[in-house]
């Protein structure tokens, strides 16, 4: 059974051709005719009713080319909705041709056909229509389907839509060119195609006087600017060239169609005016926003004078899922239940510990902490697995094998398998979230005995007030057992967020970071200046270094941590993103180090200390909780002069330098990754023990 067809015709004062059009539709056998009248005063509604059409009357102000056609499609009962304008009369065989074109393929969603000139149409318009639609025709005059890469042209003067296609895309609510907008959206959507059938033709021509033609082009190009952003350019030479070529084409058409003598001369003059006016008024329409409203009203055939409205361009869905669906869902549902605890589960010799980690780049300090711990936990006999979650798709196409190799080669030679996302999740004794992005998917994982949260920093502070800062903060209320990277973080997790937590101390790889046998210079400050990490306060560090340079112009300054050299107000040497070995040499050679942290402390001060290099950091709760008020690291307030003072003291006061250097070497002696892993293991068992105790 063939699909039913409804013809939808928006009408306003269309009595001239409406009777003929409705008769043609009856002849073609259309199942339903819906006329949407927006305030006709010429008897159009009576003509429509007399012809048996359903008439829907709307206020003139409610009319919109896209809006009204959507309304028509909603009211239509047909499987196929054919849109015609009030002056487009279907030629014999129109409906059969539409059905034939739709039958080309199930994904043909739209069929359009040619506009034939009515008798008496000016040769310019007649030629243009004939030549334009000839470009869509297949050589054998058969229907032809187009792909997404083809031209997006579509005309609602004469086009039929499969209902499902229209429902998937719908017309944009634009004042003009809703069909062009739909054509763009159709190509971008990719699920549907359009087809052209040369026999699905209508008699149609907009033949106006020369002035009205120009005003119509003004409206048309203003509409194109509003809907698809098209801007028509104009230039004197190009206009002359184009008009000459178009007039020549018109004259050839006249010759071919027997227009000769005085008629030919008259139409040639009209053609010159027509094409020149078109060029000028098209460009004016494109720039309507710059034309005063009263002038626009004069230039517009529609009498509209409100400039160009913002271009409303349809955008297809580009994501299968919103990245924040998981956080939203996990917060709503509260996550998956944990496996029932049993007595002794915390004290088993071997645990399966699954680490959920955000995607990473080589050199990431936070990831280095995780992988160093995984390596040691494996050495302690535990079974580990790594689950990489790429919430924002930062590293698309990177497979698990590549990620694993990067970990093994650039961080630590772990034995754990690596998985991208959680599709192959198989449960764990303890699953460990390691960043806020991973906490939400971890909450949804089943088959776990406990959930822990390796907290390396207070992540809400990474963001301005935003969705991200909120998501980050809310992870602290998910009930995970916290394993905090400093006493400050632990206190924050416990006191502010009401969580349970233990702490661990970051280690230093003392096989790499130790005082190298290089001469210690007395004039070198080495500073961490990775500007893309705001919490490292690079703006403050460089201000302090500028002050130091002002006081001691011969001072040697080395900046590292960023691949790009920084614009600074003092001269310096750029070390880029140095490897561990190069850094250890640099730290062994320098006189003082500078690394500032506004949130949790960085690994770098410890690595500097391990090379015997005293350093300066900010006096913050985190650094104070780790290094003490007057420990190995010289702490300074949030003041470039105070930081410069501390650096200068290390440069000038040899006793102070020696005291800090010794304190530093003593401090790092106990800060190994083996010790850190023992602390983390203790806290992982505590995470299980808390649940065991709760059950008891």
């Amino acid at each position: 059974m063939s699909e039913s067809v409804t013809a939808v015709i928006p009408v306003k004062d269309g009595a001239r051709h409406l009777g003929e059009l409705l008769a043609a539709l009856a002849r073609e056998g259309v199942d339903e005719v819906l006329v949407i009248d927006s305030g006709s005063s010429d008897g159009s509604t009576a003509i429509a009713r007399a012809a048996g059409a359903t008439v829907l009357e709307i206020a003139p102000a409610e009319f919109g080319h896209g809006r009204t056609r959507n309304l028509g499609a909603e009211r239509a009962a047909g499987d196929v909705i054919a849109f015609l304008t009030q002056d487009a009369t279907p030629a014999p065989g129109w409906l059969e041709a539409i059905r034939e074109a739709l039958a080309l393929a199930p994904d043909v969603g739209v069929v359009f056909g040619p506009h034939l000139p009515r008798p008496g149409t000016s040769p310019m318009i007649a030629r243009e229509l004939t030549e334009f639609f000839a470009t869509f025709a297949a050589p054998d005059a058969a229907p032809r389907a187009f792909g997404a890469a083809d031209a997006t042209f579509l005309s609602n003067v004469n086009a039929a839509y499969r209902r499902a296609c229209w429902e998937a895309i719908r017309f944009d609510d634009v004042p003009y060119s809703e069909d062009q907008s739909f054509g763009h959206a159709l190509a971008a959507d990719g699920r549907w195609r359009k087809a052209y059938h040369p026999r699905a033709a209508v008699l149609h021509a907009h033949d106006y006087g020369p002035i009205d033609f120009m005003r119509r082009y003004f409206d048309e190009y203003r509409g194109l600017r509003e809907t698809i952003g098209h801007v028509e350019r104009i230039g004197v030479r190009s206009t002359v060239r184009d008009v000459r070529s178009l007039v020549a084409a018109d004259r050839r058409y006249m010759d071919a169609n027997g227009i000769a003598g005085a008629d030919r001369a008259r139409w040639t003059g009209r053609a010159v005016v027509h094409h020149t006016g078109r060029k000028v008024f098209s460009a004016l329409g494109s720039s309507a926003g710059a034309v005063p409203a009263p002038v626009q009203r004069v230039l517009s055939l529609e009498r509209r004078g409100d400039g160009t409205r913002p271009a409303l361009v349809h955008q297809p869905a580009r994501q299968a899922h919103h990245p924040y669906e998981v956080p939203a869902r996990a917060l709503r549902s509260g996550g998956a239940p944990l496996l029932a605890p049993y007595q002794g589960m915390a004290d088993r010799e071997r645990l399966h510990i699954a680490f959920a980690i955000p995607t990473f780049n080589i050199g990431s300090g936070g990831h280095n902490i995780i992988f160093q711990l995984v390596l040691r936990l494996e050495r302690m006999g535990h079974v580990c697995s790594l689950w990489v979650h790429d919430l924002f798709g930062h590293r698309p196409g990177i497979g698990a094998a590549t990620l694993r190799r990067e970990i093994v080669e650039h961080f630590a030679p772990v034995r754990a398998p690596v998985f991208r996302e959680f599709g192959h999740w198989y449960g764990a004794d303890v699953v460990v979230a390691t960043a806020w992005q991973t906490a939400y998917p971890v909450l949804e994982l089943e088959g776990c005995r406990a959930r822990a949260y390796l907290i390396n920093d207070h992540e809400p502070e990474f963001y301005a007030t935003s969705v991200e800062s909120e998501w980050a903060e809310r992870t602290y209320g998910l009930g995970f057992y916290g394993i905090a990277g400093s006493p400050w973080l632990r206190d924050l997790y416990v006191d502010r967020y009401g969580g349970r937590a233990g702490t661990f101390q970051y280690g230093v790889d003392q096989d790499v970071y130790f005082p190298r046998p290089v001469p210690r210079r007395r004039d070198t400050v080495v500073a961490y200046a990775r500007a893309v990490t705001p919490r490292r306060a690079v703006g403050l560090a460089t201000l302090a270094l500028a002050e130091l340079h002002r006081r001691r112009p011969s001072m040697r300054i080395i900046l590292f941590g960023d691949s790009q050299p920084l614009d600074a107000s003092f001269p310096y040497e750029h070390a880029g993103v140095a490897g561990h070995d190069a850094l250890a040499r640099l730290f062994s050679e320098a006189t003082a180090g500078l690394c500032l942290s506004l949130t949790n402390y960085s690994l770098l001060p410890q690595e500097m200390l391990a090379c015997g290099l005293p350093c300066v950091d900010l006096d913050r709760p985190s650094t104070r909780s780790v290094f003490g008020a007057d420990g190995p690291v010289a702490l300074a307030g949030f003041d470039p002069l105070a930081i410069a003072d501390q650096l200068e003291r290390l440069l000038d006061d040899e006793d102070e330098w020696t005291r800090r250097s010794r304190l530093g070497l003593d401090f790092v002696r106990g800060h190994t990754w083996d010790a850190a892993a023992v602390q983390v293991e203790r806290e992982l068992r505590n995470a299980l023990r808390v649940l065991e105790a709760a059950r008891a």
Partner: protein, 89 residues
Amino acid sequence: MSRAAVEDQSELEQLRARVAELERELAERTERAGAAVAAAQERLYWLDRWQIDLNRVMETRAGQTAFLVAKQGRRATRVAGRIRRRLTR
């Protein structure tokens, strides 16, 4: 302690021991499975790095041809080796 209580206690101990044994087995199985996945990932590294799906490649005519050429080449090498061994025996 009554005899029944002693029996209950003993059964509980046995059950705990059994749970511990099962947990140990599970940890070993998980470790073996993880090691197998990690080893496979090591072998697949370059294919993964270059984002080559060999199954898809082998569905193409070029893939099939390359496979046949490699197969014939291997066969020819084997035959040549056999001949060389016979000649040098």
